[in-house]
């Protein structure tokens, strides 16, 4: 068996259209095996909201050669392996980790699950409940709910981007094994499949070819283009809290930029990531400084950008009190306005890039995370680079690009959408300021879109 050059990325297109990526890291005793499918929640329809996630669970319930879930699980566990899966808006991923001597066994199980599932109906009766339990556990925590629900307001309109990648409880509750099998046949296709193996041993392409040859061909459905702002302006949730220590939490979203698939377009996308670090990263950014100097105004601020195939979302997290919520929102947006008005200083830009680069260097040093990094890029349709090369792209982002990103966000403030947790007194159903959920939402929106009138010295 011949391995490719160490610590490089080798890619192959298999005869059925699937892609195989291998990264040989000779000093490793372990491997990561990952099978990704570019079929996520945005490939669903409203009556199937959650099917991608359900399938992710159902694949563990039996495959050819592994008649039930125990057979699948035990095949991994008995060699000290670990496996799991996750569903996102544009993908479903299955992965296994283990010693390199068990690489082929891991790969066989995981490819079988996806290409030759059994869909045992009796198993779905239990598993459906497990999926509902997962959804419920996220919904029961106000902090998780706030972020999960953000796409419902930012996109909305019952377009596939609107629902959370994990699905909707009502749809999952009605799903059957036959529904899910039909969905698999219609939507899964070798051309949407990427197999990534990285670590101390990798298989030859012809071995992988045989393992995924049975993958059926789907119907080649095209995605519904994402549209911003088809939902409500905001969505608040009343949360019964002790009146003496009420906290308001706000997740605020603005239209960002689509995913970059080559160096030039990725540098444009990275400008939004650098912007997030400029305003909210590390210890010394303006948002961190605002929190540090005014903890009674805002106890936590965060910023981040996520990009999808045709759209992006820039998010701000604001943790404050009912009394200070408008002031906190104005102050946070004010920091974004500052970058739109003038580019960050060279020092601030350098710090932001160093923070991002440091994070990538840590990914590099966790070698299995390095493999996962490449797998993510492969499934995202990005060009395949190791963390070190992405650091070079971050270096290429200049202050003008960061300012442009901020200007685009500020120009779209009237498109802002948000979810929030509104603390209420159990006896009155109102916050300490006497506001209902709707009243608080209207006040937060006005604070976000109205040009600042505050004394900015608080920042």
């Amino acid at each position: 068996m011949s391995e490719p050059a160490p610590n490089t990325i080798a890619t192959y297109t298999l005869s059925n259209g699937a892609r195989y990526v291998r990264i040989y890291i000779p000093e490793m005793d372990m491997v990561r095996v990952e099978v990704n499918l570019s079929v996520g929640s945005r490939d669903e329809t409203p009556d199937k909201a959650g099917y991608a996630h359900c399938l992710e669970h159902f694949f563990f319930k039996g495959a050819e050669g592994y008649p039930n879930s125990y057979a699948i699980d035990f095949a991994i566990d008995r060699v000290g392996g670990r496996n799991n899966a996750y569903t996102d808006v544009e993908r479903v991923a299955f992965y296994g980790l283990g010693l390199k001597k068990h690489m082929r066994g891991l790969l066989r199980v995981i490819t079988r699950m996806v290409t030759r599932p059994l869909f045992p109906a009796h198993e779905w009766e239990h598993e459906r409940h497990t999926v509902i339990s997962e959804l419920a556990s996220r919904a029961s925590d106000p902090g998780s709910w706030m972020w999960d629900a953000l796409s419902e307001v930012a996109y909305g309109g019952d377009q596939p981007m609107a629902w959370n990648a994990a699905g909707r409880i009502a749809v999952v509750a009605k799903s059957t094994a036959a529904d899910l099998e039909e969905y698999w046949r219609d939507n899964y296709d070798p051309s949407k499949m990427t197999i990534v193996v990285g670590g101390g041993a990798t298989p030859e392409p012809d071995e992988v070819e045989k393992l995924v040859a049975a993958m059926p061909r789907g119907k080649g459905k095209t995605r519904v283009p994402a549209q911003w702002g088809m939902g409500p302006l905001f969505w608040g949730r009343a949360d019964e809290q002790d009146p003496a220590r009420q906290q308001t939490r706000i997740a605020l979203a603005l239209p960002g930029v689509r995913k970059g698939t080559d160096a030039a377009s990725e540098i444009e996308e990275l400008a939004y990531d650098v912007l997030a670090e400029v305003i909210a990263g590390g210890y010394s950014s303006p948002m961190e400084t605002l929190v540090r100097r005014n903890p009674g105004l805002v106890s936590r601020l965060s910023a981040g950008h996520s990009a999808k195939e045709d759209i992006g979302m820039f998010r701000l997290g604001i943790y404050t009190t009912p009394q200070k919520q408008e002031q906190a929102v104005e102050a946070a947006i004010g920091i974004l306005r500052d970058v739109a008005a003038r580019p960050p200083s060279a020092a601030a830009l350098g710090r932001a890039k160093e923070l991002l680069s440091s994070g990538l260097a840590r990914v590099n040093d966790k070698k299995l995370a390095r493999v996962a990094f490449v797998a993510d890029r492969a499934c995202d349709g990005r060009d395949l680079v190791l963390p070190g090369e992405l650091i070079q792209r971050i270096d290429a982002v200049d202050g003008a690009a960061v300012q442009r990103a901020a200007q685009r966000l500020v120009a779209q403030l009237d498109q802002v959408r948000f979810t929030f947790v509104h603390p209420v007194d159990p006896k009155t159903g109102r916050s300490a300021t006497g506001q209902t959920v709707d009243e608080a939402g209207a006040a937060i929106r006005a604070a976000a879109i109205t040009p600042p009138q505050l004394d900015r010295s608080i920042a």
Binding site: I72, D77, L97, Y283, S358, R362
Partner: protein
Amino acid sequence: MSAGRRPQSTVLANGLTVLDASDASNPDVETVSLTLTMKTGMRHLSDHETGLLTLLGEYFVRGTQLTDTDTLLTRIDDIGAEIRMVPSTEFTRVVFTARRQHASELLELLGELVAKPSFDAQELEDVKVLTQSSIYRLEANARAWVQSHSDEVYWRAGTPDSRPSYGDVNAISNAQPGEMAALHERIFNPAQMSLTVAGGASFSEDQIGRALGGLAGTPLTRKHVDPKWSTAKPLKARVRPISSVEEPMVTVAAAIPIPALRTEAGVDVVRSSAHQILQGVLSGGMSARLFFQVRERNGLVYHISSSLGGRTGASYVQIFSWMTPPDNGPKALALVADILRQVAGDEGSPGAMSKEELAMGREQAKAAVLGEDSDAPEREGPRYGVRWASGLELITPQEASDRIDLAGDDDVRAAAREVLAGMDRMRMIVNSPERAVTQKMFDALGGDRSRGVA
């Protein structure tokens, strides 16, 4: 560091132990990690001091005698450093990580923060507000609440082990700069402290001496108190109202005491390995008993896992789970009780551990010890630091993994019997939207009903 090599240990004149696990000659390693491990944890402190230690995590970076807060924080960000202070029961760790080209500045920062602290009164007031906000958020989350308060249920009231994870909230409200300074001196006492250097840079003894050699510290004078398992009411419950849009979730943690796996005399390697294998059988993967039977076969929970917990002189097995609807709680825990009884059965008895299952548990235990990122610098430092602070040999992950084989299958069955024997002293903490279900869950796992709900 090369996974097959143990770190080199030296002791500076002021008593600080330096563990060199660096791998500077490897160009593929991009980060350096500096880990300070102090032999002082929450259980060595007074109630009041535990709250101060929680504050110290944030206060630690609020300026030094040489540098004001703004300048200091900018310096940290200039090199993209991540600094984490992690107080735990028996140790306190501070981990500094940055890219290798910033190694010198990272060591300089660490030295300044530890050896030249300032204790500004206004900064302390601001840190108090932020820390209180973090605790409120933590209290609002069911899983975090269960984890933060479990020690109050497991350990005897009034002992240093029976506290919320964040310590005394009154101390957080009332802390004074002088108290923080005194605590800082006791925590960062070089004679009770190690520095592990891991990743792509190494330092001479002189360099480390310049950064930390002047540190004096003051020793802790508190008397050692053996951990004592709770004898009070065995169940603590929080009934949290839920909104109309929520599904009612139940979150539970239950702990069953077992004879100590680690004492002042050292680790009982055979029993410890046997219990780790048992954990592999119970919770090592998706085919493990708890996950497979409770979730996969019966769909009663979303999450269930078990783990070994404890401190020097006391150990327990903890079951952690969350589920909906609440009615599933008693059913799930009755099944857990059955599983614990079955695995304690003699070889060949109904439901006893099979040879294949024991082999699986063994491989899972070895893999858990080996860890998937065990040679990443930010993992190596804490791992060797904890072994040093526990008085354990500084063995590599591979050596630790190999030691699992010191336990035979009969030892694992004996470990399972130890768990079964501890069932009548089981303690449980539940977050539930319904009070009735909590007692039913306790009864289902075999608790003594006469002791009631706290």
